[in-house]
Symmetry: C2
Subunit: 419 residues, 2 copies
Amino acid sequence: MDPVRAHHGHREGGRVHFPDLMPLADALPRLLDQIPVLDVEERPLLNAVGQTLAEDVVSTENVPPFPNSGMDGFAVRAVDTPGELRVVADQAAGHVTDVAVSRGTAIRIMTGAALPEGADAVVPVEDTDGSSGGSVRIHSSAAAGANVRQAGEDVRAGQLALPSGSLLSPAAIGLLASIGRPRVRVFRRPVVALLASGDELVGPDEALSPGKIRNSNSFTLEAQIRQAGGIPRNLGVARDNLDDIRRHVDEGLRADLLVTSAGVSVGDYDYMKQVLEERGELRLWRIAIRPGRPVAFGVFQGTPVISLPGNPVSSMVCFELFVRPAIAKMMGQGRLDPPTVEVTVLDRVDNRGGRRSFMRAIVERGENGYSARLTGPQGSGILTSMARANALLDIPAEMDEVSPGDALRAILLDWSALV
Amino acid sequence: MDPVRAHHGHREGGRVHFPDLMPLADALPRLLDQIPVLDVEERPLLNAVGQTLAEDVVSTENVPPFPNSGMDGFAVRAVDTPGELRVVADQAAGHVTDVAVSRGTAIRIMTGAALPEGADAVVPVEDTDGSSGGSVRIHSSAAAGANVRQAGEDVRAGQLALPSGSLLSPAAIGLLASIGRPRVRVFRRPVVALLASGDELVGPDEALSPGKIRNSNSFTLEAQIRQAGGIPRNLGVARDNLDDIRRHVDEGLRADLLVTSAGVSVGDYDYMKQVLEERGELRLWRIAIRPGRPVAFGVFQGTPVISLPGNPVSSMVCFELFVRPAIAKMMGQGRLDPPTVEVTVLDRVDNRGGRRSFMRAIVERGENGYSARLTGPQGSGILTSMARANALLDIPAEMDEVSPGDALRAILLDWSALV
């Protein structure tokens, strides 16, 4: 039997069989293999922050374009220092004097101003008497080239300034501006449609009637998509009937990625699964993780669909494990793994059941590295423990029990552990 | 002499005196002390992601609101398991059956559906024969309460769900949705005006003429402000004359924070300094850091102004050190320090000069923790080395030289060191 199919549930005489659970390490590459890197768009620099460069950017200019002063001070001939020099002109940034520096003279110069003809060094104003009247006293000896920024010192014309694949950080954006590139080619951000499902769901501003619970997944998922760099398209809630789900799913398939929540486990009411299976091959995975487990994946009409479990915490954790790297890949990012740190666990944790667990934890820095303690009850419906967490403690399937002092890895959900 | 004033340059007989350099650890708290936490606004949940909660949120509801099933399966009386039970009804999520579970019967139930009257446990479908016809075989014994999520298990009515000061992460947003809070009170994000200055600056789409260089600070600063959570208002470039600077500064003072770049060092052409001094007390600091040094701070008409050095790298580094924590404080955040990790330095670094240095570095995780190597020439104009860096290596003023193997701290600029 095909090792992939072995992980798919299949029906046989009305009974559902799941021969075994699939390790995350098997499922994730299979999913990511089918996620495309999106096409390239050209954007104004400041609209491309956080995107990935889709071209090798070669500079056509020297940066700086001419030798200029790195300090406010006096442009001099190094050989004339120290000593009293006659100040023959002012050179402000952005202006060009036609006076040259010659023996025994200096030109008052501002940071960024072109080094005048004849000068080979700049003496900072602090190393002088500040100039009174027409002369300046230079207190000490200056080396040739001191406080001069040479033409092309940062970037030379013809040089590769930024390679394709670079993340456009603030510094990268500044570098592109500095070489005269107002627009840049980047991989497009994905539009990520998100769809919750269930007759029981009501919004936070609606009345709760018997049997109804509040929809939180539409909120967590939209926030997560945005945080991951995607452009969320929130399709709201599909009700538990084929027509409503078909209509919402077809709308979702117009996005670059569709993320659905709930409706792909083994239950008979899982219309979501049925609708997705109408549209092509749906891989139904029971992943050997906790929380989480049922995750489905398919590519329909060219659009990848990731179906997450409905429990609020399972949905969030599976988003971190599957959707965030998928969005990163679509955006052309090279590194798809989540940020992690090594931690020393402070609690005793029961992990029987042979599944890799991602437990909500608070990671803090102490004297001897980072520590992790759980945030409380780990039920997959318990959002409070997720809201208090800044990390997910990654417990290997083989570890039946974690003891205080054990060293493990934790996925960071925000920066707070490092502050 | 007042210890603060000792750090201010003052003119005396035409000479500028800077009695000494001010340590960063002295300057930063003085600046942050005068930064206000902004006022509170009410926002729809999904527009508040990343902001700080400005109220204690007490839940008025139980979450979940009623006992419900944590699995797809069969609602049973635990005492009836294992055994063959008659299936008397279906309980879908969002619907309420009026049939109760009684001795020898079960109700087929979906995840999230209310636990029917009479039942005290749910048996997952995997632990049954899946039900054929009107009966189901339960393979093993279920404990009372198994797979039942009790009312109020996540949040009880009356409980503090999220304390004021909480960062609104995706999980926190979901938690607020789950307790029926569609809007929330948060500290406002600051509008941060940014103003570059200098006759020499031209944009990336303009022609370079003699003496002109390209403006990169407007780009790095706008990207940094956005990354820090502020709302940038880019005022462009003020030219080196009093009228133009006055007009731009007065526009900037209508924002919550004004960040200016260049024009506050000791040079005579520093009109920016003159314009700011017209508006109130400007603290001119020469900070004992590299790169950086001249930073000015004042509060004018109630608006804090932070004036950064003009060199591209100095401007970026001083933004990280001064402006990012100021924005965090305005947004009500409790932790203002930058994220750091301990690193082992791989290079030899000359740090003579008695200043604390922030050197551009690449931090990577290895077998024995994190390592840091410099990204190349560290001139304060050299943006390429900043664009390649993912961290700033923090070298104490007392260390004249860093040797390979030395342990130091590095400020992380992005997540890449942890991936």
